[in-house]
């Protein structure tokens, strides 16, 4: 896959045109006229994307996957689950092959980095895949193209096409074998004797048909399960899972093959922050900054950011700030995280640039800075490119509570003079119990006494999101100093929208 710069100028590389020819029958054409409704995503696709499209597609899929996760958590009844998922697919992935395939591979690359991410991605993708496959075998819509099929039995053709297209090595049971096994196959519960005569049977290793095996819903012999075509769904889903599971383990390698080094340098940071991208309140289409400060007052500027850091930032962001002050630079990941946090906190592009320039200028020339960093800051603010607007992440890495050992954390809390000894003990206790969010909330309580009783201070999400922490702190201090807290109508009040 090629990721072109903003000007969409990069020609296809030779490595990807290989993949392209292999994949021609999938019809990833811009006109989206493909009939392929479900994709195993077995080959890396080849097409050009602008950096903005790259990001936009990925976030679109992320919304669908997070919707799945949320619905699973809420344990929705199957009907509702299906209809809501269809709606989410339709509004986010639209009826476009490119968005679907590209976003799958982008997220695959973004989520292959560690086991937690892989597991999360695998879980949601498998549910999505199964949902689409079931839609196809039911002959319903809800899949990529939305092209339903209502002809009786016609959907089996679609399923068969799909199997053939994906080189499914299901072993077709010959007519002679089927006849020989007639009594056995007919003895499987749910087998219709009339349909049996026209049914196609497939032989698969039993480990690929575990659901059917576990319910004794197939004939099993010599390590193989015998499965009629419609029931192949459950097998295909299992196979998708194991193939995706394996690819995720080597996705980094595949990605390096398909994307040139220059491109990697540009999209690397994007990929590594993808999982912490905020996609807005779950279920909603909007992705506006949920914890943003409305207006300039209380928003960080280059001038007040140092003060705000010690007053209103949670430990993780405070550490990034201290790192920036100390080293006058931050690594990709940190720059992105801290930048998104500041943007989410309401820092403007100009102030953001000014602030970073000020720090970086201590170790490089202004020209170097402009060349290397200004673009990414502008990009973060959505100026360099079309729609993309980063919103701060909900799951950030580098949480000191999680990643520091006891001694280092304890030393840090003392160094920063956070709370009193009792507070620090309580924070340490949460840390030791693995309750990192409680530790973070406890830090907030320690330095914002009486926050719960102040009107206009929204404490939701304080332990979950650095921006929630920050805006709660800002509104706390505003309320304390009498700046509009009491009426709740001032423009400094935190937007509650999307704070779960």
């Amino acid at each position: 896959m090629n990721v072109a710069g903003p000007a969409r100028s990069r020609p296809s590389s030779s490595s990807s045109s290989d993949a392209n020819s292999k994949r021609g029958h999938h019809g990833h054409a811009a006109d989206g006229g493909s009939s392929s409704l479900v994709d195993m995503y077995l080959d890396v696709p080849s097409f050009e994307l602008s950096l903005d499209e790259f990001e936009e597609y990925a976030l679109a899929r992320l919304k669908v996957l997070r919707k799945i996760e949320e619905m699973k958590t809420r344990n929705l009844p199957p009907d509702l689950f299906r209809s809501q998922l269809d709606a989410s697919i339709k509004s986010n992935l639209r009826s476009n092959d490119i968005v679907d395939v590209a976003s799958h591979f982008i997220l695959r690359a973004a989520y292959c980095r560690n086991e937690d991410l892989r597991r999360w991605f695998l879980t949601q993708e498998c549910i999505l895949f199964r949902h689409r496959l079931e839609s196809v075998s039911r002959g319903g819509g809800g899949s990529r193209g939305g092209g339903g099929n209502n002809g009786g039995g016609g959907h089996h053709d679609e399923l068969r096409d799909f199997l053939a297209r994906n080189d499914f090595d299901l072993d077709r049971v010959s007519a002679a074998d089927k006849e020989r096994l007639r009594d056995k196959l007919l003895s499987v519960p749910g087998t219709n004797p009339v349909e049996f005569n026209v049914a196609e049977y497939y032989r698969v290793p039993f480990v690929q048909a575990l659901e059917l095996v576990g319910r004794r819903e197939c004939y099993v012999a010599d390590g193989n399960a015998y499965v009629p075509l419609p029931r192949v769904v459950s097998i295909v889903a299992a196979k998708f899972r194991s193939s995706l599971s394996r690819s995720l383990a080597s996705a980094g390698g595949i990605f390096r093959q398909a994307v040139s080094r220059d491109e990697r340098a540009r999209i690397g940071p994007l990929l590594s922050s993808m999982n912490s991208q905020y996609t807005g309140p779950s279920g909603g289409a909007g992705s506006s900054a949920a914890y943003g400060i409305d207006g300039e007052e209380g928003a960080p500027t280059a001038a007040n950011v140092d003060e705000l850091a010690s007053r209103s930032m949670p430990l993780c962001m405070r550490q990034l700030h201290r790192g920036l002050q100390r080293d006058h630079k931050l690594k990709h990941q940190g720059r992105l995280q801290y930048g998104l946090f500041l943007k989410g906190a309401g820092m403007s592009l100009e102030e953001h640039t000014l602030f970073f320039q000020r720090e970086f200028a201590k170790i490089m020339t202004g020209e170097q800075f402009n060349k290397q960093y200004a673009y990414s800051i502008r990009h973060m603010h959505g100026k360099e490119g079309k729609r993309a607007t980063y919103t701060p992440g909900a799951e950030h890495h580098g949480c000191p509570y999680r990643h520091y050992d006891d001694a280092s954390l304890s030393a840090l809390l003392g160094l920063l003079k956070i709370g009193n000894a009792v507070d620090r003990d309580a924070i340490m206790a949460h840390k030791r119990d693995g309750n990192f969010q409680l530790a973070c909330s406890r830090h907030f309580e320690a330095v914002h006494p009486g926050a719960t009783s102040l009107e206009g201070v929204n404490l939701d999400g304080v332990g979950n999101h650095p921006n929630a922490w920050f805006s709660a702190s800002v509104s706390y201090h505003n309320a304390k100093s009498g700046k509009g807290g009491a009426t709740g109508g001032s423009k400094n009040v935190v937007k509650a929208e999307g704070v779960a």
Partner: protein, 534 residues
């Protein structure tokens, strides 16, 4: 246990089959026991005299002293180690004998002992990464359960077992690192890699169908027949349906049996696959008689085969007076006829009446069963002779009546698995060759060609074994010289363990290791990929 063991702590209290052991006192210090200390505590309150012959003359079948003799002289460390190492070189290719330490050093360079030197993943043998756990009694009556033991070699295992004299030895999974290192590994780092697929059948789960009067841990020859039937059904299903070839069956030492499926493909199964296989064999027999137990028709091929296996044995050993007496007395057949579906009550009344008087009364249980089945068949078939079914017999009533004989046989005899044992790679199960502390009997291998004739009451006890050893030596039969007496190399060959142990070696271990030898490395990787997952 430390934080490093989070991933595997779930099963910590699940002991495997023999759960009549008082739940062990779990101590955070378990693993840190100073060995000398443990020995001192164990030995202190007891007489240090352990003359084996004097113990053997009493009726005691089990004692710590006898156990000490067993572990130091009879326990087949080499059989256990060869198996769990899955290392073909631990079997001498020439004669199929298990390599003894002395021979190992003089045989080929790829002898078994050379593979112990490394305890890393690169070791060809899985043995050093296998979890063992031990139940020990530091003082009488107090039990300590020690998890995450692992041993680099057979000698290591033997030394630890002899030193600690565990009342129970459990076998867990093969991990990615030697489990004994778990404390030095980062949290979550220790993960299971492979594990035999195991099954556990226990007579305590048969109480409601044990009309012999046994309950709980008791067994008698009458109810033991259920175990033979269970093994027959499971063995056939695992081999024919799932294609497994290397099944090792063992007596659990008291009232049940264990099956270890050792095929490589079985060892690599995910927990999900294990659950599926276990569920495949599970039939919900309903808690109360007949309630919630409806088999669908037609019968799944696996259940149809189970019925073919079970029904003749049901007729032979469940129906008669000297079995569980299901059709032996008027009261019992009345009770059985009452379980017929309502729609078949005409058949019940007819038979009740016929069997109430001569000559019907004098028919054997086997004849009565045959008569009952044929009455039911003609009832639903509408053929003349017997009671006539109303024309309005619904198809569901028809199915219920047709399935009734199967349901009856299954309720009585279908294997009642403890499937939780089978579902997790990480579940511990009592090691074969152990001794049950309540019975003193050895967990001997059971010959898969002859399940029905396995007699748990003929299994040697610690006391009988020590007596046999004494008698053998009193006869002056050959010491440790292999050439002197029919190839006796091991002390267990001087006792009645010789038969079952050697049959196990010949029929289970050697074919298994030969297959391991044949299986190419690529094959291993391919299969792992098929079932692979995170």
């Amino acid at each position: 246990m430390g934080a490093a063991t989070d991933a595997v702590d779930d099963d910590e209290r699940e002991f495997g089959a023999e759960d009549d052991v008082v739940p062990a006192v779990k101590s955070n210090n378990d693993v840190d026991y100073d060995d000398a200390d443990a020995d001192a505590r164990r030995d202190a309150p007891r007489s240090s005299s352990s003359s084996s012959s004097s113990s053997a003359t009493t009726s005691v079948v089990y004692s710590p002293e006898l156990l000490g003799v067993y572990y130091s002289r009879l326990f087949p460390y080499d059989l256990l180690h060869s198996w769990l190492s899955y290392d073909p070189s631990s079997i001498n290719p020439g004669n199929g004998k298990v390599v003894t330490p002395a021979k190992a050093s003089s045989s080929s360079s790829s002898s078994s002992s050379s593979s112990y030197s490394s305890s890393s993943l690169s070791s060809s043998s899985t043995f050093p990464r296998r979890e063992f756990s031990m139940t020990i009694e530091p003082t009488p009556g107090s039990e300590v359960y020690i998890r995450y033991q692992s041993f680099s070699s057979r000698e290591d295992l033997a030394a630890a077992v002899m030193r600690r004299r565990p009342t129970k030895l459990d076998i867990g999974a093969v991990f990615n690192h030697p489990p004994k290192d778990n404390k030095s590994l980062p949290a979550g780092k220790l993960q299971t890699v492979e594990r035999e697929l195991v099954f556990d059948v226990d007579l305590t789960d048969y109480d409601e169908v044990r009309n012999c009067g046994c309950a709980g841990a008791d067994i008698c020859p009458k109810c033991w027949t259920y175990m033979g039937m269970a093994m027959g059904v499971m063995d056939a299903g695992l081999r024919r349906d799932f294609g497994f070839r290397h099944l090792a069956w063992f007596y659990s030492g008291r009232r049940g049996v264990h099956c270890w499926v050792c095929d490589e493909s079985a060892r690599m199964l995910t927990n999900e696959a294990r659950s599926a296989v276990a569920s495949y064999f599970e039939v919900n027999l309903g808690s109360d008689k007949n309630k919630g137990f409806n088999l669908s028709a037609p019968l799944h091929p696996a259940l149809a085969r189970a019925y073919e296996i079970l029904e003749p044995r049901f007729v032979d050993s469940v129906l008669p007076e000297d079995g569980h007496g299901l059709l032996a007395t008027r009261a019992s057949w009345t009770r059985l006829l009452l379980t017929l579906p309502k729609a078949a009550h005409p058949v019940a009344s007819r038979l009740e009446e016929r069997w109430g008087r001569s000559p019907g009364r004098d028919a054997t249980p086997r004849e009565k069963w045959r008569e009952l089945k044929s009455e039911l068949a003609s009832f639903v078939g509408g053929r003349g002779g017997g009671a006539k079914a109303p024309k309005t017999l619904s198809s569901s009533d028809r199915v219920r009546i047709e399935m009734w004989p199967v349901e009856t046989v299954f309720r009585q005899t279908y294997p009642r698995l403890d499937i939780n044992v089978s579902k997790m790679q990480n579940h511990l199960l009592k090691s074969p060759f152990c001794v049950h502390p309540k019975t003193g009997r050895v967990c001997v291998p059971i010959d898969a060609d002859d399940f029905d004739s396995f007699d748990p009451f003929a299994v040697p006890t610690l006391a009988s074994l020590v007596r046999e050893l004494d008698e053998y030596e009193a006869r002056g039969g050959g010491g440790n010289d292999a050439n002197a007496d029919g190839g006796v190399v091991h002390d267990w060959q001087k006792t009645s363990l010789r038969g079952p142990f050697e049959r196990y070696r010949k029929k289970v271990l050697i074919p298994l290791l030969n297959d391991e030898r044949r299986s190419a490395r690529e094959e291993r990787e391919r299969r792992a990929a098929v079932v692979g997952d995170f």
